[in-house]
Amino acid sequence: MQESASNTPEKEVKVIISHRKAVLRRLYKNPHVVVGATIMLIFILMAILAPILAPYDPFEQVPARRLLPPGSEHFMGTDNLGRDILSRLIFGARVTLLLSFSATFVGGALGTLLGLVSGYYGGPFDSIIMRVIDVFLAFPGILLALFLVTMLGTSAMNILIAIAFFAVPTFARITRGSVMSAKKLEFIDASRAVGATDSRIMFVHILPNIMTPLIVQATLLIATNILVIAALSFIGVGVQPPTPEWGSMIEGGREFVGRADHIMFFPGLFILCVVVGINILGDGLRDALGPKQTK
């Protein structure tokens, strides 16, 4: 008896490790995950290594080299101010990725926290939170962000706040739903019986068990956020020039369409590639992590 009791924790650890290994193996073996993660990694490396990779200074204006078409010196041509488009796109990856990742993290964490507390305790607190979330879900996507940025002013920090803000309701909803079914499981009763506190049950026992849908949602949200950041810049309330940002580069190239299409073409292509990569990764994670995570 005694022996088996002292063996149990060790066994548990082993089980957890091999579970982790199994998950990792499923991720490696899923072609979507591999392809998507590779594309995303390329863009992340591009953002980190921007000063090394960029052939020119992204801000340097050379009047003599205005509106050059793609060629050997300027691989993707130059814009109306004679700036090298490729260099601006490479530096633009920093702005877009930093904003979309951090907004997803902030909004996702806040929404998860709200959903966790709301779903765990239930009662009047839950009702109030859910009604407030219903109200915010009534503002379709970009409208809320547009509204907030206009109100707060167009700084990178405010754009982050605005985009993070509209992630909160979605995450709160998903988390709440999962928490409500997870808290009925037997092991939760068991840990309560041995005297675990509410916060321990929430963060140590429930949260790890409901991570899968949240990870998938976060991945897809990064993709959405990249598109929203570009859209906000495109209507002029996002990242302001001269900061190289893909959406505002498209806006800047709009008036030269027909004469110098490359100015707006390449930024859109970059957005398309990175978002395709992230969406493939999201699809793969959904298949690999959940037995059935159909939305």
């Binding site: 109200v135 495109f234 969406n279 159909t294």
Partner: protein
């Protein structure tokens, strides 16, 4: 069923009140003094004080909110600040509302039709070249900045080929590019959803039974499988419609269409607070109502869901 419908309608009321509150408070917090917008930078302090008095800006915030709410309920959203003879409600409903709703409805129809066709073809020819190609197409549609697509189309069809007009709304030629631009994301989402949902259903026993009793494939898919596969698609269609209302902001900007979306962008840029407030309120209300209708439809179509 009736209980569900009534309850769902009643649930909408507090949400709508919440929406009016959020819209009110957000514009209330916006930087910039409305009195200065109307009176101009050069206005004397007395004039500004008079304007503030006229607009009721000296009242407490709750009083201003209830004035706004009771006005909204009576169909009065105040006057534009840029053109003080123009009522916000008139500007919204005289022309702009209809245009945006048309744009959203036609785009939804386009997305649903094309999305269903793509989804059905893909699911019935699972892992074929057609399936791979169509799903790649859907992935691109989902990942594309649609305003970029809009400008590319405009450049190709209107500037280079000169077969479609560059901007505006009204004739069917003018509708093609905006509808494609606005509908592309929805098409992709619906196509993927239809495929996944149909594949789920096709794996079920009753479909095998239908095949084994000798029914033609066409009949199995259209009479048996699709009916159940479409249930989750309905929800997506509802969500898409709401997304389209927001997406209209970009589409209307690219194609210079004078709808609600462009009105929101322009009035925010002009600091015309009542106008922006009114337009946003109308869009959000419409979104809430559409979601309500979708939920009810979903319930009617899918009676298997228990009432709770």
């Amino acid at each position: 069923m009736l209980v569900f419908i009534i309850r769902r309608i009643l649930q909408t009321i507090p949400v709508l009140i919440g929406v009016t509150f959020v819209v009110f408070i957000m514009l209330h917090l916006m930087p910039g003094d409305p009195a200065v917008v109307i009176g101009g930078e050069a206005a004397s302090p007395e004039t500004l004080a008079q304007i503030r008095e006229d607009l009721g800006l000296n009242d407490s915030v709750p009083v201003q909110y209830f004035r706004f709410l009771s006005g909204a309920l009576r169909g009065d959203l105040g006057m534009s600040m840029r053109n003080r003879d123009r009522a916000v409600v008139d500007e919204i409903f005289d022309a702009r509302f209809a245009i945006t709703v048309q744009l959203a409805v036609v785009s939804t129809a386009f997305s649903v039709l094309l999305g269903l066709v793509i989804g059905i073809v893909s699911a019935t020819r699972k892992y074929s070249i057609a399936d791979t190609g169509l799903m790649l197409f859907a992935l691109l549609g989902l990942s594309m900045p649609n305003f970029w697509l809009g400008i590319l189309m405009m450049n190709f069809f209107a500037v280079t080929l000169r077969i479609l007009p560059t901007s505006g709304w009204g004739t069917w030629q003018q509708m093609i590019m905006p509808v494609v631009m606005l509908g592309v994301t929805g098409t992709a989402v619906i196509a993927r959803m239809t495929r996944a949902s149909l594949l789920d259903v096709l794996n079920q026993d009753y479909i095998r039974t239908a095949y084994s009793k000798g029914l033609a494939e066409r009949k199995v898919i259209f009479k048996h499988a699709l009916r159940n596969a479409l249930i989750p698609v309905i929800t997506v269609v509802g969500l898409q419609f709401g997304g389209l209302l927001a997406g209209a902001i970009l589409t209307e900007t690219v194609f210079a269409i004078n709808g609600l979306g462009r009105l929101i962008v322009q009035s925010i840029a002009n600091r015309d607070f009542p106008m922006a407030q009114g337009a946003i309120l109308v869009v959000a209300t419409l979104f809430v109502l559409v979601n309500m209708i979708v939920d009810i439809t979903y319930k009617i179509v899918n009676r298997r869901i228990d009432l709770n």
